[in-house]
Subunit: 437 residues, 2 copies
């Protein structure tokens, strides 16, 4: 039996980090690896700039524009070791994590596993709807959108076509709002031109929200701006609707409403990616409970960061928001504390610096709540948004190319990436003409 | 029962074209659709610039750089109708093709279906090796390469690691040579830096060719230049070897040689994508036999173009080469003939204008045979190659972005697209530690 290939940490403490998202990435980046060995584990070999996933889903950007290969990001970083692995469990007594390729010992463990889509136990919705949490999700959704329109173009059955041309977006948070806006622009600038034989006026995008407003975490003014903008862009908005079932053809809601649709995009909730093995007191509602030093409750040498962590204090009694800035700042703070510790300096508790909220709804349509109650919309908000996103993208190539892609798309409305790259309709169409779904 | 949605050809003949490759694309582009209705069918909704697939496979370019959405390419073309469909059969008596979504009538039928990988009936090799004929193939190969290296990085079993780090390329034609060169550069500029914990000196790329030279269709001087260049780039060259079996772990050859390898890239042959329904006299060795007017033998209104066609004449007694230029020129000639016919002008027989052969082996390494016996290698050949490819790419965005990607990669050696975007190792690794394949 051979072991997992990993160099011993020569006299230094080994820190194992699980997850290469915003939190893990910023932690590793800032950590002084002259004093610590760091092992980064992730199921994927790349970091995802998640706030732009909706652009990959709507053919505005390609995956490499918003992804950074993790090995490349830390090339040259001393005593840094990446392993592409799924972690199945934590053994806090033996101080090791179990993976598909063997156990890995740690001195300190940093959990930065983020979240996944939450279907609240509804297996039908889980089986038939499309989440938008990962790059494969985004590409899958893009393929689905274009493949569904190709199907709509093939049939002259008006009922079937209407169903194929109805798209439901569940959840009125930033990603639902941004996705709805991007779909509206895709319709206007691409789809109506690409499908001259299909009655594109039948194309419906329905944004369904359980509450009574969009962007609940934003200011009332921004929520209202978002509502008005999406309305102007022919997005149908339905409030107070809770989806209870979806079989791939018909969506059913709690109040009895039904909508025939081939596409449900699920953004109604997330849950923490909790790994088994810690005490139950460490976990609350699928999040690791941490203190201001990011220590998981009940452990001295286990930490949690970002979306999977739950940190409640006076300012944020319900916990911190699940946004990139919290993850980035936690990662930097924890690494700073490790660096301070080894030099005998004092560590500092985490304090979130809220830089505000931004959502883009379309070209020249965006909303922004900045600190001190500053509120933007329209073109100024779009510029702030573009600047912020370019700034936080990983790596020069990504920044340059994403910027060029945006400028190119802005000028030409040319979305070159609208390719259906998955296997074709063949299997489903063969011998099942009437049954196109 | 509803029918396939397709407008009737108002008093004009309908031409149905199967396949949106070089031949079909150029045919449609040149056809006068004031006088003909044209219906283009393809399994995919995009055109592939196949000569650059190896760059997608080796993380030099992303799929949208070498693909053009077919609907976009012909946006604004009068009476042009694209349908994303698989065609299952031809009924020349009823003059219709059968598809998964119903039958389509034609007045003229143009077969431009191209080729697929030929495994010569060896189902083991087919099941375990990786072809490089389509964009999904290329992305699949890229994922496989990086995933295999991630696996190599996980194990300290030297036998297992050696197998994971041995890559076999079968076939010494242009695509095998170009792929081998690109892999060598990937090793030198990316892999040795990305995998500091893996003994990269064990990484082997073996190019296996059944004959006794590379680039058999090129001049002897170019064949020899290619051999020398690949040798200098640490590609192992094995001539006179015919693979007879591959089970995913060990490749076996006719002379009894075996090589332990997790990766066989199959480029040893292609076969025509022939659709059933035509007389047997129309088909010879999986190609449609055509005359100088591209008419399929035995039919007045059925034509074949490009790689799937077999046209023998005095100059090319063994048939024309299966290269993009033949397909492009056939497509243009046939459309020109259709346009002439409707104006009462004379049609012209096809005559191939051979523009020469080009293969890129690496930065500053390329070989070119131009007409009149002109022969290039090194940097001048690379420039010719880059110019030719940029020139034939579809669409301004693709040309611009591909050019920028190349320049960017050239300067920075930064291959941002080395992402494993398929599902992770999880499934295969779970509970099967020793059995990583």
């Amino acid at each position: 039996m051979h072991a997992l290939n990993l160099p011993a940490p020569a006299g230094k403490p080994r820190i194992v980090v699980i997850g290469g998202g915003f939190a893990g990435l910023n932690f590793v980046h800032k950590l002084d690896t002259d004093r610590y060995q760091v092992v980064l584990l992730d199921r994927h070999n790349y970091h995802t700039f998640a706030p732009l996933l909706y652009q990959v889903a709507t053919a505005g950007l390609e995956a490499p524009d918003i992804c950074g290969p993790l090995r490349k990001s830390f090339r040259g970083k001393r005593d840094f070791h990446f392993r592409m692995l799924q972690v199945y469990g934590i053994d806090p007594i033996r101080r090791e994590v179990s993976t598909g390729a063997g156990a890995i010992q740690y001195d300190h463990l940093v959990l930065a596993t983020g979240t996944r889509a939450n279907f609240f136990g509804n297996t039908n919705i889980e089986a038939h709807s499309l989440p938008l949490k990962t790059v494969p999700d985004a590409r899958n959704l893009r393929n689905h959108i274009f493949q569904t329109l190709e199907r709509a173009d093939l049939t002259d059955d008006p009922v079937e076509r209407a169903r194929l041309m109805t798209f439901i977006i569940v959840g009125g948070g930033p990603s639902g709002v941004e996705l709805a806006g991007a779909l509206s622009e895709l319709r206007r600038h691409v789809l109506v031109h690409d499908y001259p034989d299909t009655p594109m006026e039948q194309l419906r995008f329905i944004l369904v929200e359980g509450g009574d407003q969009l962007l609940a975490a934003f200011s009332d003014k921004s929520s209202e701006d978002a509502r008005r903008n999406l309305h102007d862009m022919d997005i149908e908005l339905r409030f107070g609707l809770l989806m209870t079932d979806y079989d791939g053809r018909v969506a059913t809601f709690k109040d009895g409403t039904t909508i025939a649709s081939s596409t449900v995009i699920w953004g109604a909730g997330v849950t923490g990616e909790v790994i088994q093995g810690l005490k139950s007191e460490s976990i609350s509602r699928a999040h690791y409970v941490i203190d201001a030093h990011m220590r998981v409750q009940g452990y001295e040498n286990i930490y949690a960061l970002g979306d999977v962590a739950y940190l409640s204090n006076e300012e944020w009694p319900q916990g911190h928001p699940g946004v990139a800035q919290v993850a980035i700042q936690m990662g930097k703070r924890l690494a700073g504390n490790f660096n301070a510790l080894v030099r005998g300096k004092e560590t500092k508790p985490f304090k979130y610096f809220d830089k505000g909220n931004l959502a883009i709804i379309g070209r020249n349509r965006a909303v922004a709540d900045l600190p001190k109650g500053l509120h933007f919309n329209g073109i100024p908000a779009w510029f702030v948004w573009a600047f912020v996103h370019i700034f936080y993208l990983i790596g020069f190539r990504n920044r340059l190319f994403t910027f060029l892609s945006w400028v190119g798309n802005y000028i030409t409305y040319n979305r070159a990436v609208r390719l259906v790259l998955e296997p074709t309709l063949e299997e489903e169409l063969r011998g099942e003409r009437g049954g196109i779904r």
